[in-house]
């Protein structure tokens, strides 16, 4: 994903209705942290960038009220298990809802523990709530929604 000269990862595969455990995510993107390009870009990418596999799980939810610590825990546990199996170093959980999240939900996402980036996007108001860890901040900085 490249946007405005800021780069988070190069996603090369996408799958609709991705099944993970007993959950179905609307879209799952996978890729890596090394960019492809012409000769010099490839050399630079080979020597400078880490070679991590990454994944981003996107799910539409009916309302942000469904988000609770158990809701996030279930999804993040499945994501972590798969990350361990497939050596996915960076993982994002991207939730899309129609309504504005409550202060409690926002706090839950922002203060989320773990390395995974968690983002909640409200496509009506175009607001974004994100986990204040490295991956959450990085994705927030790169997205132009």
């Amino acid at each position: 994903m490249v946007k405005g000269g800021r780069w988070v990862a190069e996603f090369t595969e996408s799958e609709r209705n991705h099944k993970l455990g007993d959950l179905i995510f609307d879209v799952c993107l996978t890729g890596g942290t090394r960019t492809k390009g012409l000769f010099l870009s490839r050399i630079l990418s080979y020597f400078v960038l880490p070679n991590y596999r990454v994944a981003c799980y996107i799910a539409r939810i009916p309302s942000s009220n469904v988000i609770s610590s158990d809701f996030l825990k279930k999804r993040l546990t499945l994501i972590r298990e798969r990350a361990k199996e497939e050596e996915l170093k960076w993982n994002w959980l991207f939730l899309v809802s129609e309504d504005e999240p409550s202060a409690k939900v926002s706090k839950l996402i922002e203060e989320g523990r773990g390395d995974e980036g968690v983002l909640l996007y409200n496509y009506r108001s175009r607001s974004l709530v994100y986990s204040h860890n490295l991956l959450g901040k990085r994705m927030k900085a790169c997205l132009k929604l």
Binding site: T12, E13, S14, E15, R16, N17, K36
Partner: protein, 138 residues
């Protein structure tokens, strides 16, 4: 109803044409001068004509793609090789971006790539179409 897609990729033919023309041009460097003097008036015309013909023949025999599909399965012909599969055999449909092309990858143990960019299909809508076939036949 079976749908068939088999676009002619003119750029591939052009690339082969350039290769055959370069080979014929290169051949003049090792020809005896007396022989070159005889063929010189016709050389360019003959070289261009044979390069076009050879490029077209090699393209059709090795690189030309033809995809035919219906509700039950698909058949991908690459040059003279034909692969036929049924949608129900696959579980996953992925849209994959390689260096310059999009592929629709069908997976279930083995994986089959449908080169949608080379077939000049819209990768996003064809992925949805494929996903529909796979889910319907599951």
């Amino acid at each position: 109803m079976t749908e068939k897609v088999s676009p002619i990729r003119f750029f591939e033919i052009f690339k082969l044409f350039v290769v055959f023309l370069a080979i014929q041009m290169g051949a003049t460097l090792v020809m005896p001068v007396w022989f070159y003097d005889i063929i010189r008036p016709y050389f360019l015309f003959v070289a261009v004509a044979t390069s076009i013909l050879l490029a077209y023949i090699v393209y059709i025999r090795t690189q030309h793609l033809e995809l035919s599909y219906d509700d039950t399965g698909f058949s991908l012909k690459r040059g003279k090789t034909v692969e036929t599969h049924r949608w129900k055999k696959f579980q996953k449909v992925l849209l994959v971006r390689t260096d310059g092309d999009f592929l629709v990858r069908l997976q279930d143990g083995e994986s089959i790539d449908l080169p949608v960019s080379k077939l000049k299909l819209d990768p996003f809508s064809f992925r949805m179409k494929t996903l529909g076939f796979v889910e319907k036949n599951r």
